[in-house]
C-alpha cells in the first residue's frame, strides 16, 4: 500500500530524515516508533505532500506520489499530531466540511457523519461548538475527520499525545476497529506500549534513521534473552569499563558522565551485579532494570531510553 524509498529531508543543513526506506502492506498497522525529534512527523508530512523530500520516492498503491497528487490524496487520510479543526463550528459542521472536501455529499455524507459521531461517542453533542469540547473529545473528532472519506491509507501522527488514559484507550480501540475495517495504517508514536499493543509491524527511528524494522518478535530478538541495567551515580569511566570483566557475558552498552548501561543475560541474577558494582567503587544513586522488550531494543540500539 505504501512504499518509501531512500527518503531524506534536511532543514538548514541538518538532516531530519536520513535516507529511510520502508514498506507498509495493505491492511496492516505499521508503527513508527521513536522519540520526539526522531523524524516521524517529517516523514508523515512528506508522505502526505506537505513537505517536498530532498531525495527519495514515495509510492501509494504502486503510484509515485509527486506526479499524480490530487487523485492519490483522496485515498489518503491524515490525522495530525495537533488537533486541526474549526473550533467555532460544531462537530457535525466540521465533519461535513471535511467530507465535502473529499467529494462526499448528500445522504451518503449525512449517513457517514451520523455513523462516525456514534462510533466516537460524540452523537449527543454533535451540534455543540468544538471549542466547548474536552481535550479527549477533540482528539476523537480529529480522528473522525481523518477517516470521514474512508481512506485506504491512514496516517496517524501521535494521535494520543496529551490526553487522559481513558480517552487514549478509546482512541486505540477505534484505531484497531478502523484497521479491522480494512484501512492500512501508519501509526507514529513514542509510547512503547501503544506500539506493542497496536502494531503488526514497526520501525524504530532515531535521528532521522530507521534503526530496525520488522515484526515485534523479530525486533525483540535483537536483545535476545538479555535484560538492561542502567546505573546512575558516581563512578570512574575506568571502573565502568572494567566491570564487565568481572561478570562473564556482561556487556557495556553505553557510558556517559554519570550514567552507564549494561546488558546482562537473564540467567544471571541482579544481586551479583549490584555486589560487583559496590566492589568496584560505584556509588549507586539509581538502578533501573529493563526486561527484554521494545524499550530494551531501543536501549540496545541507541544506548538510551525512548523517553530520554
Amino acid at each position: 500500500m505504501l512504499k518509501v524509498e531512500n527518503l531524506s529531508k534536511s532543514f538548514n543543513g541538518k538532516l531530519a530524515v536520513d535516507h529511510i526506506s520502508f514498506q507498509v502492506e495493505k491492511g496492516e498497522i505499521f508503527g513508527f516508533l521513536g522519540p520526539n525529534g526522531a523524524g516521524k512527523s517529517t516523514t508523515i508530512n512528506m508522505i502526505c505532500s506537505l513537505l517536498k523530500p530532498d531525495s527519495g520516492l514515495i509510492f501509494i498503491d504502486g503510484i509515485e506520489t509527486s506526479s499524480t497528487r490530487p487523485q492519490l490524496r483522496k485515498k489518503l487520510g491524515v490525522v495530525p499530531q495537533d488537533v486541526a479543526l474549526y473550533y467555532e463550528i460544531s462537530a457535525e459542521e466540521n465533519l461535513r466540511f471535511w467530507g465535502e472536501l473529499y467529494g462526499m455529499k448528500g445522504s451518503q455524507l449525512g449517513k457517514r457523519i451520523k455513523e462516525l459521531l456514534l462510533f466516537f461517542g460524540l452523537d449527543e453533542r454533535a451540534r455543540d461548538k468544538v471549542k466547548n469540547y474536552s481535550g479527549g473529545m477533540r482528539r476523537r473528532l480529529n480522528l473522525a475527520a481523518g477517516i470521514i472519506h474512508q481512506p485506504e491509507l491512514l496516517l496517524l501522527d501521535e494521535p494520543t499525545v496529551g490526553i487522559d488514559p481513558q480517552a487514549r484507550h478509546h482512541i486505540l480501540d477505534a484505531v484497531k476497529q478502523i484497521a479491522k475495517d480494512g484501512t492500512t495504517i501508519l501509526y507514529t508514536t513514542h509510547y512503547m506500549d501503544e506500539a506493542e499493543n497496536l502494531c503488526d509491524r514497526l520501525a524504530i527511528i532515531d535521528h532521522g534513521r530507521i534503526l530496525t524494522s520488522g515484526s515485534q518478535e523479530s525486533i525483540t530478538k535483537i536483545v535476545g534473552e538479555n535484560r538492561f541495567l542502567k546505573v546512575s551515580g558516581q563512578f570512574t569511566a575506568e571502573n565502568a569499563e572494567r566491570l564487565p570483566g568481572d561478570i562473564k557475558e556482561l556487556t557495556l552498552i553505553s557510558l556517559q558522565d554519570k550514567e552507564v548501561v549494561y546488558s546482562l543475560p537473564m540467567k544471571y541474577g541482579t544481586g551479583e551485579f549490584i555486589e560487583n558494582l559496590n566492589k568496584s567503587g560505584f556509588i549507586i544513586e539509581n538502578l533501573s532494570i529493563k526486561e527484554p522488550s521494545l524499550d530494551s531494543v531501543f536501549i540496545k540500539l541507541t544506548g538510551r531510553e525512548l523517553r530520554d
Partner: protein
C-alpha cells in the same frame, strides 16, 4: 472545491454573527455621531439659552402677556425665564447667575391704555457679552410691536378704556360698538398682516426642506467616507483568518486533501470579497433607511457597480498587504496604522476640503481617495459614468494588479 472552502468560511463567520454585526454597526454609529455634531439645524442649539429674570411689579394682563412671550414659540428656544422680585433679581445679576433682569413698573398697563409714555427697565449682566445683548434686541422688538399695536388700535382701545375706567357693567350697545370697531381695525390691517404671514409660512417650509436636504447630503457625504474606512477594517479582520488557519494547522490539513494551494487562496479572496460585500450592503441599507438617502434608478445602478469595484479593490489592497507581513500579530499591529493613514489622506475620516493644501495634493496617492471621492460624486454631485471614468480606471487597475499579485505571492508562500 472552492465552493466548499468558501461555504466553510462563511459558516464559521456567521455561526456567531455578533462580532460581524458590531463591526457593521460601527460605521453607522460614527456617521450618526458626526452628523449630529455637524448638521446645520443642530448648530443653532449649540448656543446656550439666555437666562432672563422678570420682575413684574404691575402684574397686569399686558405685562404678563409681554413677559410670557419669552416662553412661547421660537423665543422659548432662546430664553429661559424666571419670575423674581427686583432685589432677588439684582442680587442674581451681581452673582453672575443670570444674563439680564427685565422690570415692568407699577401702572404699566394703565399707562398704555391711557396712551401715556411708560418705561420698562432692563438691567444687563456686565460680565456677559452676548446673552444680555440678545435680550436687549428682543425686548426692543417687543416694545416696538406693543407700541404699534396700541397706536393702531387706538380707537377700539379708547372704547375699552372708557369701559375699563367706568367700573360698571357695559351696556349691549357699548359692546356692539366696540366689536364693530375691532372688526374694522382687523379689516383694515388685512392687506398688511395676512399676505406676509402666508408667505412666511411658505418660506419656513422651504427652509426646512433645504435644511433637511443639506443634512442628508452631509450624512451621505460622511457615510461614504466612513463606510470605506470601516470596509478596510472589516476586510482586514477577515484577512487575518488566513494566518489563523495556518496557526491552527487547518490549512495544512486541508492541503493534505485533494485541494491545491491556488484553490485555497482563491477561496480566501472570494471570502474577503463576499464578506466585504455583505458588510457594505448592510451598512448602506441601514444608512439609506436611517438617513433617508434617495436614488434615481440610474444613479443606484452606477452606485452599485462602483461599490462592487470599491470592495474588490479593497480586497486587493488588504490581500496584498498581508503578503508582505510574516505573522498575524505583525499584520494586526501594522494594518490599522496603514488604514488610518490611507483613510485620513483619502478623505474617509476628514473631508478633503478640511485638509491643508499639501495633504490635498498627495490625497490622490491614497487608494481610499478614489473610492471615497467616486462614491461622494455619485451620491452628492450625481456624476454619470463618463465623469467617473478616471475613478473606474484606477480602481479596476488596483483590483486586478493587487489581487493577482496577492494570489501569486500567497501561492508562492504556501507552495509545497
Amino acid at each position: 472545491m472552492i465552493g466548499t472552502l468558501l461555504r466553510k468560511d462563511l459558516i464559521r463567520r456567521f455561526y456567531n454573527p455578533s462580532g460581524f454585526i458590531l463591526l457593521v454597526s460601527l460605521p453607522l454609529i460614527f456617521t450618526f455621531l458626526l452628523g449630529s455634531i455637524f448638521r446645520p439645524s443642530e448648530k443653532e442649539n449649540i448656543l446656550p439659552k439666555v437666562n432672563l429674570l422678570i420682575a413684574d411689579r404691575d402684574s397686569s394682563f399686558v405685562s404678563r402677556m409681554l413677559g410670557g412671550a419669552f416662553g412661547q414659540g421660537d423665543l422659548k428656544k432662546m430664553f429661559e425665564t424666571q419670575n423674581v422680585d427686583i432685589s432677588t433679581g439684582t442680587q442674581m445679576i451681581e452673582e453672575g447667575k443670570s444674563s439680564a433682569l427685565l422690570i415692568f413698573p407699577d401702572g404699566f398697563q394703565d399707562s398704555l391704555l391711557h396712551e401715556k409714555q411708560t418705561n420698562i427697565t432692563l438691567i444687563k449682566n456686565p460680565s456677559q457679552a452676548f446673552s444680555p445683548k440678545i435680550a436687549e434686541e428682543v425686548i426692543k422688538i417687543l416694545c416696538e410691536g406693543t407700541d404699534r399695536i396700541f397706536r393702531i388700535g387706538a380707537k377700539p382701545l379708547k372704547s375699552f378704556r372708557i369701559l375699563y375706567d367706568g367700573h360698571q357693567r357695559p351696556t349691549n350697545p357699548q359692546i356692539s360698538s366696540m366689536a364693530v370697531e375691532i372688526n374694522a381695525l382687523f379689516a383694515g390691517m388685512d392687506n398688511y398682516i395676512f399676505p406676509p404671514l402666508i408667505e412666511l409660512k411658505k418660506e419656513a417650509l422651504k427652509k426646512q426642506q433645504q435644511e433637511s436636504s443639506a443634512t442628508q447630503n452631509m450624512l451621505t457625504y460622511l457615510l461614504a467616507g466612513i463606510v470605506v474606512m470601516f470596509l478596510l477594517f472589516i476586510i482586514d479582520t477577515m484577512a487575518r483568518d488566513l494566518f489563523t488557519e495556518s496557526e491552527n494547522l487547518t490549512l495544512q490539513r486541508i492541503l493534505t486533501g485533494p485541494v491545491s494551494v491556488k484553490q485555497f487562496i482563491i477561496s480566501k479572496q472570494l471570502f474577503l470579497f463576499i464578506a466585504g460585500l455583505l458588510a457594505y450592503c448592510l451598512v448602506w441599507m441601514a444608512g439609506i433607511a436611517l438617513f433617508r438617502i434617495r436614488f434615481a434608478l440610474y444613479q443606484f445602478l452606477l452606485f452599485f457597480m462602483f461599490s462592487v469595484l470599491v470592495i474588490a479593490s479593497i480586497t486587493g489592497i488588504i490581500g496584498f498587504f498581508y503578503t508582505l507581513v510574516k505573522t498575524r500579530i505583525q499584520g494586526s499591529a501594522i494594518a490599522p496604522v496603514i488604514i488610518i493613514v490611507f483613510s485620513a489622506l483619502g478623505g474617509a475620516m476628514i473631508p478633503l476640503n478640511a485638509l491643508p493644501p499639501f495633504l490635498k495634493n498627495i490625497a490622490v496617492f491614497s487608494p481610499v481617495y478614489w473610492c471615497v471621492d467616486g462614491l461622494q460624486k455619485i451620491l452628492i454631485e450625481q456624476f454619470g459614468l463618463a465623469q467617473l471614468m478616471p475613478h473606474i480606471i484606477i480602481l479596476v487597475s488596483l483590483t486586478l494588479l493587487l489581487n493577482i499579485a496577492a494570489f501569486f505571492m500567497f501561492a508562492r508562500r504556501f507552495r509545497i
